[in-house]
Symmetry: D2
Subunit: 361 residues, 4 copies
C-alpha cells in the first residue's frame, strides 16, 4: 500500500504529463550557449557574459520581428485586401507589436551602458573582429523592410565583414520582394478613385494646376497653394513632382499614384474605411522612428565606450553610424507627405457616393 501514503507533492520526472516549461522553451540550448572568449583564454573578464547575453537577447527578438514582418507581408502579397476582412486590422496589430518590441530593445541599451569603457577593454581584444555589424538578422530586417543595397551608406563596407556563406544569404534576400514595394503596390490599388464614385464631385476652385489631374486633385492643388506662405510657395512644385509625375527623384520608391493615395488616406482618415489604412501608414512610420531611435542610442553608446577611436579602416565609428542613421529611414517618403497636407477646414468635400462606400453597410 506504499502508493496510498506516497507524498502528494512528489512527481517523478517520468510521471510528468504534458508540456514542461524548461523543455518547451528548450532551455538546455538557450542557457548553455554562453562561452566567454576570455574564459577560454583563462583570463575571465566578468563583463563579457553580459556582452554575450545582450547580443543573444537582441538576436532572439530580431527573429521575432522578422517573423511578424514576414507574416504581415503575406497579407500585402495578396492581389486584393478585402476591407471587410480582418487582414488590415491584424497587420496593424502586428506592426504595432513590432514597434513595441523595438522600443523595448531601445530600452535594453540602458543595460549595455552599464559596461564601462575600462571594463570593456578587459575583453575587447579577445573578440576581434566579431562585431554586431555581422548580425545577419539585423541586415535581413533592414532589407526585408525595404532598404536596398544601393540605398545604403557605405555599400562596399556593408557586407565586407561577412563570410561568403552569409554574404550569399544577404544577396539572395536582395532579390526578394521588399515590404516597401508591397506597400507601394497596395497603395496604387486602393480604389478610391473609381470613376463612378466621383460622378457628382463639384469643383470648388476654377484653376488648373497640373494637366491630367482630375477635378478633385485640381481643387486640392489650388487649396494647397492657397495655404502656403509666400516663402513656402516652392512646395507646390514639390507636391506636384511627388504626387503627379513618376520621375526618379533621389531614388524615390513610391510611385506618384501611390503617394497621392497615401496622401488621400492621411487627409480623410476620419472615414471608417480609411482608418485601418491610415493606421498601417502610421505603424510604418512608428517602425522607422523606433529603428532610428535604436540607431541613435547605439551611436551614443559606442561613442561612450570607445570614444572617437579610429576603426581599423581609418574611419570613425560615430560618423559612419550617423550617416547611416540619416540615410536609412525606410519609409521617409511616407513621412514626407505630411508637408503636403492642408487644414481639415479647407479640404475638398467628397461626393456622397464615395462617402457611402467608405461607411458601414
Amino acid at each position: 500500500m506504499t502508493k496510498t501514503i506516497k507524498n502528494q507533492t512528489t512527481m517523478k520526472d517520468e510521471d510528468y504529463k504534458g508540456v514542461y516549461y524548461s523543455e518547451y522553451l528548450q532551455l538546455d540550448k538557450i542557457l548553455n550557449a554562453q562561452q566567454t572568449e576570455t574564459g577560454k583564454a583563462g583570463k575571465e573578464a566578468h563583463d563579457e557574459m553580459l556582452f554575450i547575453i545582450i547580443h543573444q537577447s537582441y538576436e532572439l527578438w530580431f527573429k521575432q520581428v522578422l517573423f511578424e514582418v514576414g507574416s504581415v507581408m503575406e497579407f500585402f502579397k495578396k492581389t486584393r485586401i478585402d476591407d471587410s476582412e480582418p487582414d488590415l486590422a491584424i497587420a496593424v496589430h502586428r506592426l504595432s507589436r513590432v514597434t513595441t518590441i523595438l522600443t523595448a530593445l531601445v530600452k535594453q541599451i540602458d543595460i549595455i551602458e552599464t559596461l564601462t569603457p575600462l571594463d570593456f577593454l578587459d575583453y575587447r581584444d579577445f573578440l576581434r573582429p566579431a562585431s554586431g555589424f555581422q548580425s545577419l538578422q539585423f541586415k535581413q530586417l533592414e532589407g526585408l523592410l525595404g532598404l536596398r543595397m544601393e540605398d545604403r551608406f557605405g555599400k562596399a563596407y556593408y557586407t565586407s565583414a561577412l563570410k561568403d556563406s552569409d554574404k550569399q544569404i544577404i544577396e539572395d534576400m536582395e532579390k526578394q520582394p521588399k515590404f516597401l514595394d508591397l506597400i507601394n503596390d497596395w497603395l496604387e490599388r486602393v480604389p478610391f478613385f473609381d470613376e463612378k464614385l466621383w460622378d457628382e464631385y463639384t469643383r470648388a476652385h476654377s484653376g488648373t494646376v497640373e494637366e491630367g489631374a482630375n477635378d478633385f486633385w485640381q481643387d486640392y492643388l489650388c487649396a494647397y497653394d492657397n495655404s502656403l506662405a509666400e516663402a513656402e510657395k516652392d512646395n507646390l512644385k514639390y507636391l506636384v513632382s511627388v504626387c503627379f509625375r513618376d520621375i526618379d527623384m533621389e531614388g524615390n520608391r513610391l510611385s506618384a499614384k501611390a503617394s497621392r493615395n497615401a496622401l488621400f488616406i492621411m487627409l480623410y482618415k476620419d472615414y471608417p474605411l480609411l482608418q485601418a489604412p491610415f493606421q498601417v501608414l502610421q505603424s510604418l512610420l512608428d517602425i522607422d522612428e523606433a529603428m532610428s531611435l535604436w540607431r541613435f542610442r547605439h551611436i551614443n553608446m559606442v561613442h561612450r565606450m570607445i570614444g572617437g577611436r579610429m576603426g581599423t579602416g581609418g574611419s570613425s565609428g560615430k560618423d559612419y553610424l550617423m550617416q547611416a542613421l540619416n540615410k536609412h529611414y525606410i519609409f521617409k517618403e511616407i513621412a514626407a507627405l505630411t508637408s503636403f497636407m492642408i487644414p481639415r477646414s479647407s479640404l475638398p468635400k467628397l461626393p456622397k457616393k464615395l462617402v457611402k462606400s467608405m461607411s458601414f453597410g
Copy 2:
C-alpha cells in the same frame, strides 16, 4: 596569378580569421530553439512564437542576473571587506546593473500585453500544464536573494508543479547561504563602534531610554522620541525592539545589531566612508522595488489575459499573485528602517576621531 585579381571583398568561410559573431553567440542554438506546440499539432497559432521568444528572453536575463548577484555575494562572503579596495564600489555597480536589467524586463511586459485574450486562447490549451511558475531560475533568484521556503506565500504550492529533479535543485539551494544573510553578517561587522573611536563622545540628552545602549544611541533614542508627534509615540518602542533586542518578530532576518548599523549608515551617509555602504543598501531596495514592479505588472497582465478565471486548483490567479507580491519583499527590514530616521539637524554630533576614520587619509 589568380590570387592578385581576387575580389577584395570575398572571404571564403574557411579563410575567416578570429571570432565570428554568429559562432561566438552560438546562434545556431539560440535561433533554433523555437518549436510551437500548435505547429506540432498542425494548428499553428501565430502568437505562440512570441510566447516562446519572450520567455526565452526572460530566461536569458535571469541567467545574467543570477551571474551578477552570485559574483557580488562572493565579496560579501569575505570575512572582511577592505573599504579602500574597490569591492564595494564594484558590488554597487553590479547590483545597480541588476536593477537596470530588471527594469528592462518590466518594460518587456509591454510586449506580452500585445497578446490579446482571444489570440491567447488559440494556443493556451496546447501548453498545459506548462507555466512560468515552473521557471527554475526565477525561483533560484528569489531564493538566492533571501526568500526562504518558509517565508513564501503558498509554500506547498510553490514546488508542486516541478519535476522531482528540479525540486531537488530548489531544495539544495535552500541550504546555500542567502544574500540577505550575508548582508546581515556584513552589517554586524561594519566597525563604526570600535570603542576607541568614541572616547570623546559628549552626551547631548540626559535620559536613558534603553538599558545597555551606549551613549550615542541613548541620545539618538531621546532625539527620535522628541521628533515624534503624539500619535506616533509607539514608534519608539518599535525602534527599540528592532534595533536593540534580538527578538523574533514576524520572522525578522536582520539582527538588532545589523539593523542599528544599517540605520547609522543611512543617517550619516554623507561621510565618504559610508557612501558605498549606503549605496549597497539602496541598491538592495532598488532590486526589491524592481522585482515588485515586475510582479505587479505581471498580475495586471495575467488579469487581462484570463480575467478572474479560476485555476485548476480553484484559486484565483490574481489573488495568489497579489498575496505573493505583498509577502515577497526580500529586503523589507532595511526599507522599514526609514521610519526611525530623524532630521539631519537633530542628529547627534559625531566625535572627531570617528569622523577622521571615515574620511580620506
Copy 3:
C-alpha cells in the same frame, strides 16, 4: 538715417508682432508660483523646490487628462453614436492619449525617488498637513471615470482632509454622470441584436442553458460550458449571473445586457464595425492599468520615503494605499469578461445579414 543702419537682429519688444512664446504660455504665472515653506521660515531645504515642481507638473497633466476625458464623455452623452462618423475613432485616440499621459506620469515617479528619506525630513514638518491626498483634480478624475464615494476604500477618510469649499466640489461631482455609466448605456444601445439581422441564425447546439437567452447565446453558453475543465465548471454560473441576470452582485455597474454586448464585441472584434468599439473597451482597460501602476509605484515610493511610519490617524500609509489600489479598478467588470471567452475556432458562426451590416457598403 538711424533706421537704415539698425541692426537687423534687433527687435524692440513693442515691435514684436504675433504670438510670443512666453506670453502665450503665461510663463509669468507658471514660473513664479514656487515658494518654499522652508524658505519662508528662513531654513531653505534644497529639495523642497523639487517637491513643489513635481506636484505642479502632476496637476497640469491632471487638468489635461480631465479635459480629454470630459471631451470624450460628450460623445457618449449622445443618444446615438453613428458608426460612420469619426466619433468613436476620435474617442479612441483621446483615450489612448490619456494612457500615454498617465504612463509618462508613472515615469515621473523616478524623479520623486531621487528624494532621499533624510533629505525629505528636512522639510517634511513644514508642509503639514498638506498632502497629495488633497489633490482635488485627482479625486475628480477618479470620480469622473466612475469611482463613486460608496465604492471607495476608506470613504469617511476620503474627503476629511479637504476644506468645506473643496468638499462641496467633490459632492457636486458625485451627482454628475460618470463615464462608466455612459459606457454602460452605450453598450446597451449597441444594436447587434436587431431581430431582423438574426433571422437566419442556425443553432449549432441543442441544449438550453439559460431560459430567455436567444439562440445565439444558448449556443454560446453551450460552447463555453464545453470549453471548461472540470474544476472550472462553476464559471458557467458566473457567466450567466453576469451576462443574463440583472442582480446586484458586489455593486456591479454594468447591466447584464451591457456585459453581454461587451463580451460580443470582444469575441467578434475582427469585423470592421466592431474594431472601434473594441478599441474603446481596450483603452478603458489601459487607463485602469496605467492608474493602477501609478498607484502601485506611489505606494513603493511612499514606503521608501517614510517606511511603515504611522500616520497621524494611526493607520499605516502603505496598507491604506494598497487596499485602495485593489478596490479602485474602475473598469474591472469589463476586464472580468475575459474569463468568459472561448477560442475563435469554437465561436458560433454569425448570419450573413449581420456580417454584412458590420462590413463596408
Copy 4:
C-alpha cells in the same frame, strides 16, 4: 449646543490650520494659465490645450533643472572642494537627478506624438510666430552648462526670434561662468600630482614620448602606444595634443592639464577617493546624452508633424536641428578621452604613498 452635534468631518475654510495643498502649490496660477489662441478666435481646436500644457510642463521642469545645475555650480566655484566633505556626493546626486528629469522629459515626447499632423494644422497658423525656439530657459540651460554663442550651429539665427529684453538676458548669461569652465578649473586643481606623493614611482618603460611629461605619463604614453593596432597609431599624436599641449584645436575648452587629470580619474576610478570625481564626470556625460536624446526625438517628432516643409527662412527644420544636435554635445571633450584608455592590466602601478592618500584614514 449646535457645536456639539457638528459633523466631525466638516471643516470650515477659515478653520483650516497649516499648509493647504492647493495654496501651497499656487494652483490658482498654475491651473488658470491656459488660454487657447483658437479659443480667442472663436475656432477652438481641441488639441491646442495639449500643446499649451506640454510646453508649460517642460518649462516647469527646465526651472527645476536650472535650479539643480545652479546649486551644483556653487560647489565648483569654491577654490577647493574637500574630498572628505559631502560636496561631491551631493553634486553627483543632483546631477544624476538632472538626468532623471531629462529622461522623463524625453518620455513626454510620447505625448506630443499623439498630436497628428492633420490636427496640428487646425491651430498651427494661430500660433505664429511663437515657437519652442523662443524658450529662454532652454537657451539658459545650454548656456549655463557651457554652450557658448560661438559654438552654436546657426549663431545668427539663435536669438533672432527673441524680443530685445529676452535677448539681453541671453547676452548677460553669456558673461557668466559656465559649468564646463568650472569643471575645467576643478580638474586642473585635483591634486594627484603633488610631487611628494610620487617620490617612489618606478618607471616601467624606458622611452620618452613627450618632452616634459613626468615619469608616470611617459610610461602611460608608451603603454598606450603599445596598445594600438597598426592602423590606430595616429591616436598617440592625438592623445599628446589633447593631454599635453595647450593648443587651440577646434575650440577645445579643457586645458591639457584638465584633460590629463580627467583621464587619470577615469583610469584609476577604483580607488575610493576617485569614485566621486569619476561619478561627476559620468553624470556630465549622462546629461549630454539625455539632452542629445531629447534633441533627437524632437527632430523625429517635428519631422512627423510638418515633414520636410520649408520654414519661413527657407531652411528645412530637420536639417537645422540635426546639425545643432551634432554640434551641441557640451561635454564631448570628456567623452573623447575614452579613446585614450588602456586595459587595466597594462596600467602603470601607482606608488604606495599616493595610494594611501586615496584611501580611508
